[in-house]
């Protein structure tokens, strides 16, 4: 079907502000992605998949200005022994980054991997293409075509430290496009951390291939810059008995759309994707998740919790697709919002599509205020009202945070949320 002229124009206008990198081995994938993007057109306000989130500022040619923000606290994960890879407004910062060698893993930069043949060739844009069906994700195609850098991580063993991607935002109008490819060999295990606002506008794509019996932990925080915008995609493919656990904390940010597309292709695989977000005022956060069960006895969990106040908006679009033959599927999906006032809103679209007859899938979505009974109970024991509200808010978010397996990391995340709540009390 031909695209409407307005959409064609918008897409070409955006593309005219970008340059397609040459990119050796990735060149073909980039050209394909560009063709794909031209076929889809960039997201528009009338697209069903963008019904609750206006894509305008994510697709316009230049990044809307985003004021720099000094969080006034030590960056998250600072106390954790990790391998640091730093990007400033989407540009690799060699001086601030660690040496990229670590036992059990090879790490290269996308911009530097110039050979004609590369292991990442079998994944770059490949998982993204698979994730374009049945729902198109044009911003991911744009990313594959135009990504200026990123990291290619090949995990062959069990690296002793987490690999930490740190994204700084230092220019008010930066427009960053990064694309990471992560491949875990059979039996490998790694932890990937991400933190920081990255740019005024950040388009990030992460393709993850987890082979049989491999495990990937992913924990990210998206930076507290109030005016930053981000559209991110995770495309993950899981092999037999593999595990993928991803958690995202979003505090602030005028606009965030996090898409996560997971395909369970091997039996007994486990995928958990969780998110906690806290928004106050000019805040729009969208979690869009699509999990496909295409193997027997797999487990998937989607746990998304949102705390919203002063007109903040939360969106959840989550789907579990169980393909024919994916028996013994255990699918769970919960999306909840805690609305701290009457001005905030939560829009949820939970979906189940099941073509197998021996499955257990459940989903729930709720919106509510602080439990007055619990609040009075706490206060009657001497806990001041503000503190009691924070305690209950943390408790509300706990189910999502508990999806982080590593205790040090989950405590770090909890502490960050606690600080945010104290700053945004009342």
């Amino acid at each position: 079907m031909a695209l409407p002229q307005t959409k064609l124009d918008a897409t070409e206008e955006r593309l005219s502000s970008l340059t397609l990198p040459e990119g050796g081995w990735s060149g073909a994938a980039r050209k394909d992605a560009l063709a794909r993007l031209r076929e889809y057109g960039l997201p528009g306000r009338r697209d069903e998949y963008w019904k609750y989130t206006r894509p305008d500022t994510l697709v316009q040619p230049g990044a809307p200005r985003a004021a720099l923000f000094d969080p006034g606290e030590a960056p998250v994960f600072d106390s954790i022994d990790r391998l640091k890879i730093v990007f400033v407004d989407g540009v690799f910062d060699a001086g601030a980054s660690d040496d990229l060698s670590l036992e059990g893993v090879t790490i290269e930069r996308l911009a530097e991997a110039q050979s004609d043949l590369h292991w990442a060739q079998s994944l770059y844009g490949v998982l993204e293409v698979k994730g374009q069906d049945p729902v198109q994700r044009p911003l991911a195609a744009l990313n594959t075509a135009y990504a200026t850098d990123g990291v290619l991580i090949h995990v062959t063993g069990k690296p002793s430290r987490p690999i930490s991607l740190i994204y700084h935002h230092r220019s008010e109008s930066s427009d960053a496009i990064l694309h990471h490819v992560i491949k875990l060999d059979a039996g490998a295990e790694a932890t990937i951390l991400e933190n920081g606002p990255a740019a005024a506008r950040f388009n990030k794509c992460m393709e993850v291939d987890i082979a049989d019996n491999a495990t990937l932990h992913h924990v990210r925080t998206q930076g507290r810059d109030h005016e930053r915008r981000a559209a991110t995609h995770i495309f993950a493919r899981l092999g037999t008995e593999s595990v993928f656990k991803s958690f995202t904390l979003t505090a602030n940010g005028v606009l965030t759309r996090n898409e996560c597309v997971i395909e369970l292709t091997g039996d007994d695989a486990v995928a958990h994707v969780a998110g906690a977000c806290v928004g106050d005022g000019d805040f729009h956060h969208d979690d869009t998740v699509f999990i496909t069960h295409d193997a027997v006895n797999c487990e998937s969990r989607q746990v998304f919790k949102k705390v919203l106040r002063n007109g903040a908006t939360g969106v959840f679009q989550g789907k579990i697709l169980v393909k024919p033959g994916a028996q013994k599927t255990d699918g769970y999906q919960i999306s909840q919002s805690l609305l701290l006032d009457d001005d905030s809103q939560f829009l949820a679209k939970p979906e189940l599509e099941i073509y197998a007859d021996d499955v257990a899938c459940s989903h729930g979505s709720t919106s509510g205020a602080i439990d007055e009974e619990a609040l009075f109970y706490l206060r009657s024991r001497g806990v001041p009202e503000g503190e009691a509200v924070n305690l209950l808010t943390l408790a509300f978010l706990a189910e999502a945070v508990e999806e982080i397996e590593d205790e040090t990391l989950s405590e770090e995340i909890t502490a960050r949320i606690e600080q945010w709540l104290i700053r945004h009390a009342g």
Partner: protein, 251 residues
């Protein structure tokens, strides 16, 4: 200790007067019991004293150690030394029992200008108190009251009372939902807290609880007023004859 004078209270939502002039004075070191039929206003009295929303005081006063209770927030009343053991303790998923109690204890200490209790001392204290109430370590770690049996919830109330060491304790139908053994355990917990400097107000339907927690004074409440006050024998009279005779006598 607790001085209630001519207290009038109505429901905020509807124009319904619940308390119609309650006079009550609980001295330090004494246990007062309030008995009365359903709907007489016993629980309302406990809620109003602890500061629950939804009630409007239309007259009278309530003071704790000379301080105007009705003018305080619930947390201020707690810091001033008031404690209500709930008839239906609230479940709070996601908040650990231990975290809850430590937050409460330190909030009260802070409000009173005392130093906060450190984690080690707190742990020692709570373990000792929990042991007396046969509350195991697992119950301390679990979220507040979540999945607790009726008996466990009430024991948890008494544990909180023991930890917070209030001056004035109100027990709202603490016997409801308890079997004989649990009632004994809870009563022992309460009795252990009886002290020269502490007052108790025990609200109950039945004499049963008062066999274990022996009151000094018994009040009968009906239709928003205290209609009769006497010694422990008054509770026995109710047990034997019901409220009907008493009500008739006053009318």
């Amino acid at each position: 200790m607790l001085e209630i004078k001519n207290l009038h209270v109505k429901l905020e939502e509807e124009d319904k007067q619940i308390l119609k002039g309650v006079d009550l004075s609980v001295e330090a070191g004494k246990v007062h019991a309030i008995m009365g039929p359903n709907g007489s206003g016993k629980s309302t009295l406990s809620y109003v004293l602890s500061g629950r929303e939804g009630y409007e005081v239309t007259g009278g006063s309530a003071e704790l150690l000379g301080e105007d209770l009705l003018d305080m927030e619930p947390e201020e009343r707690a810091a001033a030394g008031l404690f209500l053991a709930f008839q239906y303790p609230v479940e709070i998923p996601g908040v650990g029992n231990m975290t809850f109690l430590r937050t409460a204890l330190n909030a009260q200490r802070k409000a009173r200008g005392q130093e906060e209790m450190n984690a080690t001392d707190f742990l020692k204290l709570i373990r000792a108190k929990a042991k007396e109430l046969k509350i195991d370590a697992d119950m301390l770690k679990r979220p507040v009251n979540v999945g607790f049996s009726g008996g466990e919830k009430k024991r948890n109330e008494i544990l909180q009372m023991a930890m917070l060491e209030p001056k004035m304790c109100i027990l709202d139908e603490t016997d409801s939902g308890l079997d004989v053994d649990a009632m004994k355990l809870v009563s022992e917990g309460v009795n252990a807290l009886r002290d020269e400097g502490r007052g108790f107000l025990v609200i109950t339907h039945y004499q049963r609880l008062l066999d274990h927690i022996k009151p000094d004074v018994v009040h009968i409440m009906s239709d928003g007023r205290i209609i009769k006050t006497g010694g422990p024998e008054l509770a026995l009279e109710v047990e034997q004859n019901g409220y009907a005779d008493l009500l008739a006598e006053v009318a």
